[in-house]
Symmetry: C2
Subunit: 346 residues, 2 copies
Amino acid sequence: MSKHNYIRALLKQPVERTPVWVMRQAGRYLPEYRKARKKAPNFMEFCKQPELACEVTLQPLQRFDLDAAIIFSDILTIPDALGMPLEFISGQGPVFPEPLRDEKSLVALQEREPLGDLQYVMDAIKLVKHELADKTPLIGFAGSPWTIGCYMVEGSGSKTFSQVKRLLYREPTLLHALLSLLSKHITQYLLAQVKAGADSLMVFDTWGGVLSGPCYQAFSLDYMSEIVAGVKQEAPHIPITLFTKGGGQWLEAMAVSGCDALGLDWTTDIANARHRVGNRVALQGNLDPCVLYSSPEGIRQEVKNILDQFGSHPGHVFNLGHGMYPDMSPEHMQVLVDAVHEFSQS
Amino acid sequence: MSKHNYIRALLKQPVERTPVWVMRQAGRYLPEYRKARKKAPNFMEFCKQPELACEVTLQPLQRFDLDAAIIFSDILTIPDALGMPLEFISGQGPVFPEPLRDEKSLVALQEREPLGDLQYVMDAIKLVKHELADKTPLIGFAGSPWTIGCYMVEGSGSKTFSQVKRLLYREPTLLHALLSLLSKHITQYLLAQVKAGADSLMVFDTWGGVLSGPCYQAFSLDYMSEIVAGVKQEAPHIPITLFTKGGGQWLEAMAVSGCDALGLDWTTDIANARHRVGNRVALQGNLDPCVLYSSPEGIRQEVKNILDQFGSHPGHVFNLGHGMYPDMSPEHMQVLVDAVHEFSQS
């Protein structure tokens, strides 16, 4: 058995207390992060400097009693390494000025081998692992094929996802070819992260929730399952967590994907989720991040609610149902982390 | 029994064919709508001219064999009538330059009686009813208290809903006071629409899906139930449809709210929804609007899928799971409407 509560919880083994980490725990809500970011204002350039990525990965662990670190990176490193120019525009998020909309653009990408250009991620992982000295486990991650594909086809975030869905309904073969290509690269990318030292892996499916049930299965979950199978073949001991934001209606299907744990957003009742997935997978989540705007007492109450709802079974990793927002208070994050440990020990 | 298939379907009575109407069926995808809008480029000013609202309400019925009309208006007419200045900024949607964030702003609103300033909606309904001559039923509508409240507190649309949730978690009493006030006005507003001639009512809860289950119940559904009870007390014969976008996890709770029908977005499997709500309510929905980007044959296939999934029980109103987008093709809308009738007659 691993010495880490976080790893044990993912494997549904007994823990001393419920482990906690928080999506975007290294982020703009931390003044030390904002300071570090000034060393390389361009976001992708920042990600590509292993020393800086290492520095900010470790920042939240110096403040809070967190049970896991997650490597500082972005879900769009793969299209960047495939040669699609990527810009981060303030207030608009990531933008591909030349989105992928036709077969010609796809063929151009098919010739690329992105893994070599992603070495900076592996270098950052190695640096972090050295610093952590196995006191805290490190999470590696990737975006899901569907989510990365959404950005590549839309060219940016979207309210309607009209472009990628136009492809889905009109040219499904082309979209499947793109998603297959991404799945292959993501599998290799995650395995390289394991080789570099990642102790666990997470796949972020930020946009799976905009699909109908059958389309979610065919265009998102099937590819994530393929990735899980590919990773498990070479690294069977590494726990994998799948997180589909807005995926609360499809937990049963996700639970048989071969992964070890499911991330839940806050719209799903965690007791109900536990009932639905049974003992097949561990669960990660799922406090509404906006609870951090509440008072310390309010935060403690909501943390207790989630822990009580999950119950005393093994298999719970506490997290928010989405990432931290920039205007949140580090002091309130402290209250959250301590409350998880306090209430789950008793 | 009503002579209208649409009304009969809402009441779970037998129909000759599945009725169909489409959210935002009067909208920018129609060239005649874009032309009419030029007569009053300011969106709220346009809404406030009953002749123009009547004209565009009827436009889709002149093109398509639709089973219901919906009065052309906006969910933000109530805060506008409460005296909150509202602007529609191109590409950004509705904006309140002075959002509601404290008790003082709420107290100022509490002194207003908005119904008198909403007479233009009733006038538009009367004009439409005269033109329809009872050949097609007319739907009246309002936004849900939570959804209108979100816009009033955020000041605009939001990705995170940080402002309104800050209020929810820090000052729930203030938020409840706002939602109570809105519920009271919405009830009166809907009853006035019935008095003016609306044959059925719909409540649009566009943002209920951003809440946790318990918060959805307390801050959205409870208020919608209050509205349903208030309307039913004075107009028991008018069917009411509740639509919470992203509400697929809460259908059981919605089904016991006293309403007659639930609107479904496309992420929910309609066969599963039908199983979960049993015979308690009719269902409206739920094609992914992006299916309209597909080929005519693709659209027909997806329409058939939804009809097959729902089955031959009474109680289905066909619709999209969300409104039409401006770049959609009227010809494809035609294919959709005709396919619903063709496949449900056989």
